[in-house]
Symmetry: C2
Subunit: 240 residues, 2 copies
């Protein structure tokens, strides 16, 4: 029986999503808990990896159990074990054809920037930013990045394919926080953080609009700045 779980976590308490031998990871913690309930090893497939310090409000994974467990009981029992820094939001049975990564239709990431007075309790949850933030400038960048592009320059490491589509980038301010929401398909490693990095470069007058456009071209290969992981949230993963 195949199950889908949707869960949230505080990334500052894990060494990223992917299972690691000697360090606490989100995948490792969930797999350990499931293996206890299943009384045999369980492997989960995540909707994608998140880096060290990146948070999730709505990550998704799937896994198979030979002997089914009612999904309500799974949520309750899992939460008792993975508490307090991971929280399973819900669980449901899905067809065998479902795959948490390959079936993804859309993903939503939110990047949070704190521009109020420095607060040590905010450090793990925001990019602490002490420069002036122009929503207008951030929105100018958003317009350029939205659409289907080859994001090779925003992706970390060599890859054969770095094509993706960003459906929407929304810039919203409330109190001392600016939130940049990215909706799209095919986000690659560091891509959101590098996009935010470029947006902040433009905000600080370190590059012009024409350079942002060039960043999306094949022959642009300059190193971009990567916005810190603390501010990034995997907000939701959506399927058919």
């Amino acid at each position: 029986m195949r199950y889908l779980i949707r869960y949230a976590y505080d990334g500052s308490h894990f060494n990223g999503f992917q299972r690691l031998k000697d360090k606490k990871s989100v995948q490792g913690t969930l797999e350990e808990a499931l293996s206890i309930l299943n009384k045999a090893p369980v492997v989960i497939k995540g909707s994608g990896r998140t880096d060290v310090f990146v948070h999730a409000n709505g990550a998704v994974a799937h896994f198979d159990l030979e002997i089914p467990i009612p999904s309500k009981r799974l949520v309750y029992a899992l939460n008792r074990i993975v508490h307090p820094y991971i929280h399973v939001l819900d669980c449901k049975e899905v067809p065998d054809s479902f795959h948490a990564r390959f079936s993804v239709k859309e993903k939503k990431y939110v990047y949070k920037i704190w521009f109020g007075a420095y607060d040590p309790k905010k450090y793990d949850y925001y990019l602490m930013y002490d420069k002036k933030l122009s929503l207008k400038k951030l929105r100018e960048c958003a317009k350029i990045f939205v659409g289907r592009h080859d994001f090779h320059n925003f992706v970390s490491g060599e890859r054969e394919n770095s094509n993706g589509t960003i459906y929407q980038i929304k810039v919203k301010k409330r109190k001392n926080v600016v939130e940049i929401t990215f909706r799209g398909k095919s986000f690659y490693r560091y891509m959101v953080r590098n996009l935010v990095g470029a947006m902040l470069m433009y905000n600080e007058g370190k590059c012009a609009i024409i350079e942002l456009k060039k960043m999306l071209e094949k022959d642009y290969h300059k190193k971009l700045s990567t916005a810190s992981a603390n501010g990034l949230y995997l907000e939701g993963v959506y399927y058919e």
Copy 2:
């Protein structure tokens, strides 16, 4: 030259305030930083200890330097070293008669309770509470605790003196958070957490008003429940 510093910290990244040999403490981190700037060991006197996981938005300490450093430079240089989980808010020169603990006129603590949907990112900063919270009941407790009392039953460990005065207890709700603010003089170890524990017992119908009153009497010696440290903030320390 004697200096006063006011500072904030994220208690979830320290093993309490007090200096420890092998573990990261707030006092140890500040003393190490000051010793680097002073090029000789510096000992700080805090306004009081906070336990593991307790946060501060306005803790105070004093220390002496033989060779003075301008206070603005001290703030800047200290913050570079103690970043990111401690933040020095300000620093000023004070007379030699000033003592961060003995000169205290009033302290303010805030206890924060989260009663919204469980969020793993809130765990370090609130008491996560999944029962119904009655502001009316909390305020009934507040009325009983305010004033000059012997708080022996709310204080951890044996002490000769557990007399103190609570000037005010305010209960405030905003969105998914209830904040209980305590203003007073002479708060002892676990006192605020035990007061909150008793308030929650009353909220849950586990004791009556008459029992709350008895808790302040000499011959009451029942073990009370201690509310978790995560929700407690040393909000401010005030002097003449």
